[in-house]
Every structure is written in C-alpha cells, then in structure tokens.
C-alpha cells in the first residue's frame, strides 16, 4: 500500500497544492486500491528549510514543489511497481 500525504498548509495550498485534490479521480480503479491518500495539516517543511512548497510525502519520501497533478500521478505509478 502506497501511503500518500498531501500537505494542505496555507503555503502549500496557495503555491499550487489545491490542484492535487483531484488525485484520486485521476487514478484508475485498480490503482486506487493500492494507494491511501491523506490530506494532512501543515507539515512544517517550508519553515524548516526542507525545500519549497507544495510538499507531498510518498511512503515517507519528501517531494517538494509538486505543482502539477500529472507529475504526482507519475511519481505514484513509479512507486507502485
């Protein structure tokens, strides 16, 4: 199971994270079974210098500046295999 955490802190949301809300409907039925998506409150990464918002965690790995939902889908697909 792929655990996806999408930060919904103000900075992540404003800088492009709001577009990631449709992640589940972009996945196929098969893929959806393999992914658990969670929208989480501010992870605090932008303040601790871990990179630039929006942040997404995929199985604990931090991805920064995720402003394109299709890029996130590709990241998920790569991690599914």
């Amino acid at each position: 199971m792929l655990e996806v955490k999408i930060c919904t802190g103000t900075a992540c949301y404003v800088m492009g994270g709001s577009d990631l809300f449709f992640i589940e409907e972009k996945l196929s039925d098969e893929e959806r079974k393999k992914v658990k998506v969670e929208f989480v409150p501010c992870l605090g990464y932008c303040k601790s210098g871990k990179g630039k918002p929006p942040f997404v965690l995929v199985n604990g790995k931090v991805y920064e500046k995720v402003i394109d939902i299709d890029v996130l889908i590709e990241i998920l697909r790569e991690n599914m295999e």
Partner: protein, 492 residues
Amino acid sequence: MLALNNKVNYLKKSLAAELLKLFFDDELHEKINMIPIERVPKFSQPIDCCIFKDRAMIRNKIMALLGINIEEEEDETKDLSFFLEKALNRKSVDCPVLTVIDIACHSCEKEEYYVTDLCQGCSARPCESNCPIGAIKVINGRAVIDQTKCVKCGRCKDMCPYNAIVYKPVPCESNCPVDAISRDPDTGKAKIDYDKCIYCGKCTKSCPFGAIMDRSQIIDVAKNLKNGKNVIALVAPSIVGQFPGTILQTLSALKKIGFSKVYEVAYGADLTAKNEAEELIEKVGSGNQSMLCNSCCPAWVETAKKHVPELLKFVSNTPTPMAFTARMAKKDEPSSITVFIGPCISKKFEAIHNSDVDYVLTFEELGAFFMANGIEISELPENEFDSPFSTTAGRKFPISGGVTEAVEYYVNEINNDNSLKVRALKVDGLNKKNISMLKRIVKNENNFNFLEVMACENGCVGGPGVISNPKLTREKIKTYSTSKLKNEEMNY
C-alpha cells in the same frame, strides 16, 4: 493559456509573499535591492541567457508587484528602494492596470503556420492540394508557405501525414480576445492598445515569460493594514475553495492580518440580481426592449463599449455586486478603506472608476499576505461575515450560468404570474470566436431575452487571479450556496 500552476506564477506568488514578509518585519527598505541577487546568486543555472538577465527580470517583476507602470520608467539607474518609496507615497492607484515587462518579453516572431524539418516533400502533397488559397508550393523537396497569402486556416497542419506543419503562436496576441496586443515594429516587444484592451487579463495568464503583469496594490493595502487603519475586506463569492479550511476560517485569517471587517460580495450579488430582474421585467417584459445583458463583468462591459457598441444599449445599468457591497461598507463606515478581494483583474479597472472601492487584490495576492504572516488557515476558529447573509442566488454568481440562475430566481419571485419567462444565451468566456458571434447576434432575430457574458471561461471561478482549479471551486461553491441560509429582509 498556460496551466493554472506554472513556474511563472509560482515566482510571482513567492516574490509577493517575500516582499510582504519583509515589509511587515520592517526589513523591506534595507533588503529590497538585494532580492534579485539573492534569488539568482552567482554560478546558479540561469533560466534565460544569463544570471544578469534573470536578475533584471526579477527586478522588473518586483516593480510590477510594487504597482509601478514599467513602460513609464525611463531611468534605469533607479534602484528598487526608490520604487518602494514611490509606491509607499502614492495616495491612490491609477490606470493602466496592466504593465508590459519589456526585458522579459521574448519579442516572439509573428504568428504563423510553420513547416518543420519533418517535411518529406511527399508525392501526395495534401498540404498543397488542401490549401484553399494556393499559398503552399513544394520547392526543393519541401513545402513552403507563402506567409503573405496564408489565411491561417490550419488545414495544411491537419492534413500533413508527418505532422510536419505546426502552428507557431504569439501567446499574448493569440489569447487576446480583442486584438489589443501588437508588437512594436522596432523592438518587437509587446504593446497594449488601451483603446482596445478590456482588462480581462488573459495575456497575463498566457505569456510563458510572464512579461505582462497586472500592477499590484499589495503595498498599498499592506501599508494601511500595518498602520492600523480601518480596512474593510469585500470578498468576492469565488473565494470559497481558494484557501484550505472553510470559508468561515478564511474570515478569521483576514481578521488576523488586520482587516477590521469582512463583507460578503455575494450579498451585493443578490442585490444586483434582484435589480437586474426588476430591470428585465420593466424593459423586456413591457416589450420596450428585446433583451437585457448582464453588467457585473467589467471586462464584458468594456468589450461592449469598445468592440460591440451595438449591444451597449442592452447592457443593464444595475451596479455590480462589488459596487453594491462597497457602497454599503462606506455607508456603514465612511472613513474606512475598502479592499475588494477577488479573482479578477478588470475589477482593478472598475475600482479606479468607483470612489467606494479603494483597492483591489486578487486571491493570489491575498494568499501572499497569508504566507507572509505565517497563517495556518485550517487551524483557525470560524468567524462570521459582518454583512447581511447572502442567498443561494448570490453565492452562485461566480459560476458560469449563475447570474442567469439568480436573475431568473428573482424574476419568478417578483413576477409570480409567470408572465415573463427568462430565455438566456450564455457566453462562457470571451475569445475571438465568441466576440464575432456577439457582433452577429445584433443583426439576427434572437429567441432569447437575457444575455449573460462572462469574460472568463467557467465564470469568475476561472479568473486570472485564482488559486484553485475552477472545478474544485465550483464544487465548494455549490455546497456552500445551500448552507447556513438565513433569509433576512434586504433593506439596504
């Protein structure tokens, strides 16, 4: 147009947030001149030709964020702190609302269909035989388009079996619905003709270099908030869904950054719809006029004035939701400073001509205020609007078709004998094609009596200043529109 999220608007939003943070921390004067260098330090990988041009682009984008009219600034020796001073000292904002950043403008070559190296000079030559005006010849084994003849129908591109012909746009020009942008014959830089411009902002959202920006008023608003002035926020109904958490939590965030009160423009939208319904009954119901057009979208009203003057007499004279709400705020508190916050650039133009509205911010710019103040909206308590409650009708105004729905609702309410049926034509977004359609409808026999024109596709939720995908905003507005209704008497 570019995708909603891209590196151009990412840079703009992050620069705005940085400027505001430094401003609120009393460090902007000291640090503003260094921002371009800090953003592009030596040996970094340049985006354009070199780090010096990258720095110049950032410098100019900061000028636009300070609200400077870049075309007007001749003296290149002035540093950013000079422009900051200029911005802080101005008493009010002026036209034009857009500015061209010439240093960022790529001077794109003319829009044309272009034959690439993929052309095989085949025997079938569908490009040549399908060109309706004979503008294509195959010379030395390769198709050549006579650009002086080409009418840009695109048939050659569609017919080529090798996909060898491409359309090469000039993004700002191609996306301008009213051909208000041209290139300076000497420099090739984009130039906006304000006799034609409708302030829709599509150019700002289509240039891949971010070379056209609206002149921001963030510094004007920040100055008043910081000085503890009585600043009232007038928030457009499309704010629902633009920020994390609920709309009522966003109200707390607005209060936290210093706004004294928050008025809901959806309430003004109810007033607009009700008045427009009365006007429709009076003018169209009586048979004096064949139809009525909406007046709430300033980019559409400018279009009617400048490009379809035949339709101007049909445009409603009802004030816009922003105008109604601002009038109410100024009546409640005459010494207050009013700030309209919405998805729209053309509202900046409308506000300059309305003394009840002092400043206009986009949602992107408001987002920069929240980031600069380190506000976590979803952790805040819920708050209430300081204006009367709006209804479903007013709340759905920013979704394409919502204005019609609202006017229809009030027509049926006022006219309970059903003698006037609203038959609407809805134009969802202005583009070159829709504008020629609008020019034609004047001459035709029409079977509609209400014309709703939204300059932006999807309605205001698709405006140039939004943060969220219109699909998300639309869903959230639909949920919000039927919640917490309190039918108060509208007595303003």
